[in-house]
Symmetry: C3
Subunit: 135 residues, 3 copies
């Protein structure tokens, strides 16, 4: 990766798992020393994604995971034969990026918001890319 992108790695431990990466993203923002701007986050994978949701009660993302399972169940008669077709579908539904404002060097998030890496085909080591735009 070029000098402008910060990369960090996340090791997931289950087939499906939502990992709160807010502290890691904040660390990247702090490292860049940007006071006011936008933090763009991107995962270079096709069977995991990024979402923002409540990180106070872990049941919230479990509900999200279970609802996505109903839409794209493990056994669904898929064409893609690697056994991870539902993971690809879920990745497109949550999306592979997020953009969050920065003020005073801090990510601007709502009281209950956290940033989650959504693992849909783990366990694996995943990469997260962060780019900070100064304004």
């Amino acid at each position: 990766m070029g000098s402008g992108i910060i990369e960090f790695k996340v090791r997931t431990s289950q087939r499906e798992e939502f990992v709160d990466i807010t502290p890691l993203v904040q660390q990247a923002v702090t490292q860049k020393g940007v006071d006011s701007g936008i933090c763009h986050i991107f995962v270079p994978h096709t069977t995991c994604g990024i979402t923002i949701n409540e990180n106070a009660d872990p049941d919230v993302v479990t509900d999200l995971s279970e609802t996505l399972d109903k839409l794209a169940p493990a056994e669904g008669g898929y064409r893609h034969k690697e056994g991870n077709a539902p993971a690809h579908v879920k990745a497109s539904l949550v999306g592979s990026s997020e953009s969050i404002f920065i003020e005073g060097g801090r990510l601007c998030l709502g009281t209950w918001q956290g940033i989650f890496l959504c693992e849909f085909d783990g366990p694996r080591q995943r990469k997260v890319w962060v780019k900070v735009i100064d304004d």
Copy 2:
């Protein structure tokens, strides 16, 4: 919020409601006086979201709302016990941000596109944050 972010508030009046916020976003862009750039929109909530869709026929977003209800019905055996689990799920599916180009001081949208705040757990007062990047 820092000086770079414009915040406006939206009062919703129903449990589930899609509010066309295009005029409010345009107003924020006009206030910034940026001719060419990008307008980033973010909602700091976990039970509402932002989407872009047709704003000519209100039935379009009603169909969206009803389809999301089938995927995440009110009674769905959720773990999160505050009664708004489906609202959290829907928020992640539509997402909490949008990015729209600006040219000539105007939001660049297609003929039929409008920007909607998607209320999934109203009625409430919601905050919308806008940041305009000049290029």
Copy 3:
């Protein structure tokens, strides 16, 4: 469109079709001559969208298409009476934009990632807008 936005057109040939537009987006980035920055992509339509997913095995996006069909089937008792209500729903689920990092003048994508225009109401000619932010 203003001078800052590059527009290209995509002709789709089926009702529902996922077109890999990665080469066209890279061409727009190359045309701008930006070494390091962010490429924002936006479709000004309400019945098509943009997603990032695997472009090695075409079955992956077919699975995505078929899963979205289960959620928003052709015959679903919709209110919007133009026959394309499910296309509107699907457009909001995949979203109308993506943001991808640029380093060394190249789009930074994972090994398996491609950028897809998601046609949900074709065949039509679609517009794709690209804006490149230099950092």
